[in-house]
């Protein structure tokens, strides 16, 4: 499993170009998340793909050839923070509810909706943690579930920022560090 981050133009059709590329390379995507960045014209993607290092290199290099992709980088193997968020609707009656609440506490999850016959649990964290919670909830009856897919960020000073246009780049230089 390989994790790639890409900065792309925030405009129609870009997701199609990215997913078509993965299809053409016959690489199965495990999860792909897109969201805007602090610059609304640029979106950030985290792509988790079922492939090896060589496949990831091809995906990375081919992604960066797309005009709408500003940067693509394989960040697998680097110090990463990975987060996934899930909403899990689980059936809960009067008897098992206290037991359920205890488990939720152990997993540092939250109850975000309460109904007579069910609860919605919100949990975020690494993939393993969510998978673990899911495992213990299964006997209670998981009625519905939604997951966001992974977002990843390299830790600490390992920055991965979108390239800036040349004119803006010179502005950045003249105004010193720390300014966007």
């Amino acid at each position: 499993m390989q994790t790639l981050v890409a900065y792309v133009e925030n405009k129609p059709g870009v997701l199609n170009r990215v997913s078509s590329l993965a299809r053409r390379l016959a690489i199965n995507i495990d999860s792909l998340t897109v969201g805007p960045t602090e610059n609304e014209e640029i979106a950030r993607m985290t792509i988790v793909a079922h492939t090896d290092e060589r496949g990831a290199h091809r995906l990375e290099a081919s992604l960066e050839k797309l005009v709408d992709v500003l940067l693509a980088e394989n960040i697998s193997g680097r110090a990463l923070l990975e987060r996934d968020l899930a909403l899990i609707k689980v059936s809960a009656d009067q008897q098992n509810r206290p037991h359920l609440m205890e488990l939720i506490k152990v997993f540092r999850a939250r109850v975000v909706d309460v109904a007579p016959e069910s609860l919605i649990i919100e949990v975020s964290g690494a993939v393993d943690k969510i998978d673990g919670l899911l495992e213990v909830l299964r006997p209670f009856g998981v009625l519905e579930m939604a997951r966001t897919g992974r977002i990843s960020m390299t830790r600490g000073g390992d920055l991965l920022r979108p390239p800036v246009p040349e004119s803006a780049a010179s502005e950045l230089e003249s105004s010193g560090p720390g300014v966007k």
């Binding site: 078509s20 290199h57 050839k65 940067l71 390239p163």
Partner: protein, 426 residues
Amino acid sequence: MPITKHNVVVTHAEDIARTVREAFLIANSGRPGPVLVDITKDAQQASAEFNWEASAPKLPPKRQRTNHDQAEFDRAVELLNTAKRPLILAGHGIMVSGAMRAFEQFVHTGNYPVAMTLLGIGCFPANDPLNLGMMGMHGEAWVNNAIQEADLLIAVGMRFDDRVTGDLRTYAKGARKIHIEIDRAEINKNVKVDAALVGDAREVLEKLMPHIQTRDHSIWIRHIAELKGDSAVRDIQTLPDSGHLYAAHVINDLWKETGGEAIVVTDVGQHQMWEAQYYHHNRPRTLITSGGLGTMGFALPAAIGAKFAKPDSEVWAVVGDGGFQMTMSELATIVQEKINIKIAIINNGYLGMVRQWQEFFYDKRYVATPLVGQCLWHPRGAHHCARRSHPHDPRGARIRRNGSHRLPCRTGRFRLPDGCGRSFPA
């Protein structure tokens, strides 16, 4: 699904100018490729102010990659300066980056023999003693044997296409490989390389030049000459006259009569490979052919384009009898625009390249490849039409006639001796 390098839809007339400028920029940058600009009917019919400054391209900023690190570069230099049996695989990228002069210098400094891809033909003079000619499936066997025996392959602006490598499991196992290539996605794609220098061929070669030691590879070059042996003597052109006209005769005469100076545009098929083998190109961009994205029917429209781009050059379209039939409308265009193009139809009565595969790989089941009932002799669209079906037919006079004309050549059909009608060397 787009098959172009990039594609855009324009929905507003005021975006047309900028988009077209962007399209040219994208098409010409990096590894070039076509860009489709799809202008909606609404935008076509609307009107807008045109302003050059306001229509400046606004492409997304791209990460500027440092192409290769110093360690990779040093490794390449080390390999270049220690190889005993080096060989260059020269591709189209050399011409695209305008690296012909730098390449020639590079070759002569290191004394590297050069094998070319189909699209690389012309990047290095055919008459240079270090030029081995085309490699791969349709290249000479001895060239491929030399590649198999090399201890260093220097790939410049090429992508190890399967027509070049054949079976990857056995391809050049004894050789280290250096890959000079502008497209990162091509690195280690088909063939794993020992040093990858990503970048414009000309820039990389110029950067390498000061580090290259002049070396004498005469033992290796002599060995290649031995591999070549008497294959030139056994050439189809030197066979005793059997009364049959072979495509090789036609192409070779074309080469002689045009002094090797014509721009030759080929279609796709056996004649394309015969052209690559028997027309010797000393100058870049004198062979226009469709390469990897090959399609029959390419030659005639491309020849029209070549003539418009180079009105003072002699332009020859070399076409098979199959592909020629796909371009009837271009013949009308040639007449209408009075374009001076010469056409040689290599007529062997088959979709020959497909037939060749049926012969070798499909148990000689010739399905849908014989062509019958053609009417290539009717001089529609040509001022002159000369026909040649025997080696003794006057050659020069017909090739040299002025004005647009066609030269249908009825070449030997496939009942000829083995190897005579195939587009790889006998």
